[in-house]
């Protein structure tokens, strides 16, 4: 069960609309390493996790990622307010605008719509946690790249915050992996898949 909290995890206050920036930042809503995919990855991996620490960790990080999706969506919403048709054409947001107007649609910056193909649920503790570690790194790099391309201080403040969260999540998934391995066969980690073989 989920309950909505009418607040963001971190304030989003973008003083200057900028559709050109929205065009790239949308990738962290619906791109291959975006926040929608992150939350779906973790929340769906929970069911086959055999250990309580990992059920908790995936629940809590998956929930936080939903909050991050809302923050990135808030950035897009604020960057695209009060756009003139001339700005839409000049910024290159026209291709997005024709399909979605100033709505927030989960898509990659390339225009490829959000796809479950960009995430994995393998049903194996080691495979899933290694996927999660890689996912956190890829999200971190996407935020690095956004920081390279954006010079808006209001946007960058939020992006720096989100990027740092990926580093903390990486550490926690690494610790989760370590706790899992300690519970497994120390002589042969790959003897069984504890998510399936009991």
């Amino acid at each position: 069960m989920f309950v909505y909290e009418k607040k963001l995890q971190f304030p989003v206050k973008i003083a200057n609309p900028n559709p050109k920036l929205a065009k790239i930042i949308i990738s962290q809503v619906g791109g291959p390493d975006g926040e929608l995919g992150a939350s779906m990855r973790y929340l769906n991996q929970r069911y086959s996790m055999p250990y309580d620490e990992l059920k908790g960790l995936l629940t809590d990080i998956g929930t936080e990622e939903l909050g991050h999706m809302e923050m990135v969506a808030a950035i897009i919403h604020q960057l695209t307010r009060k756009m003139s048709t001339e700005e839409i054409l000049r910024s290159g947001l026209d291709a997005y605008f024709v399909d979605h107007t100033a709505g927030v649609y989960p898509t990659a910056a390339s225009g490829f719509p959000w796809s479950a193909a960009s995430m994995a649920v393998k049903g194996d503790v080691l495979a899933d946690l290694n996927e999660d570690l890689a996912a956190e790194q890829k999200a971190r790099v996407t935020y690095d790249n956004i920081l390279r391309l954006s010079d808006d201080p209001d946007v960058n403040q939020v992006i720096r915050y989100l990027r740092e969260r990926e580093i903390v999540h990486y550490q926690r998934f690494g610790e989760g992996l370590r706790l899992a391995m300690e519970k497994m066969d120390q002589k042969n980690l790959y003897a069984v898949n504890p998510s399936f073989d009991r």
Binding site: V3, K6, K7, Q9, F10, V12, E64, H77, R163, R172
Partner: protein
């Protein structure tokens, strides 16, 4: 400060079990939850823990404006961060005691925000005179600095 640096160094380096298994990724456990930032600084930096604070091109966020909202966000954030820490360190009784303190502060900060700005959760409306859930602002709406 020197003690802080030493503590940070220690868990930057971490420790590996002896011998660490082959064919497995190994990330050192964070050993202990000290040092820590104060809540407002933790929120603006995106982590409670200086040892995990690894900013891109070394650029750090400026301080956030202090409002009842950011004060509540900062306490909420420390709670979130401690929860993730406790998920992988469930036996750390010292941090669980700190978590208790934060939960008490969180309740205070939330009650204050609800009084000032209306419900954060639907259930915050217990005892209210009218249905206040629909009242603006919604979290994604643009509000100028100083407008909460």
């Amino acid at each position: 400060m020197e003690k802080q640096c030493a503590a940070m160094e220690r868990w930057r380096l971490g420790s590996l079990p002896d011998p660490a298994p082959l064919a497995a990724a190994y990330i050192p456990m964070q050993e202990g939850a000290e040092p820590r930032y104060v809540p407002q600084e933790a929120l603006s930096r995106g982590t409670l823990f200086p040892g995990l604070d690894l900013p891109f091109l070394h650029v750090v966020n400026p301080d956030l404006e202090q409002t009842p909202m950011t004060e509540m966000m900062a306490i909420d954030f420390v709670a979130d961060e401690l929860e993730l820490y406790l998920d992988t360190h469930p036996g750390d009784t010292e941090i669980f005691a700190l978590y208790q303190t934060i939960l008490a502060m969180q309740k205070e900060a939330r009650d204050r925000m609800v009084r000032l700005c209306g419900p954060i959760c639907q259930t915050d409306q217990l005892g209210m005179e009218r249905y206040a859930w629909l009242e603006a602002p919604w979290p994604w709406e643009y509000r100028k600095r100083g407008e909460g």
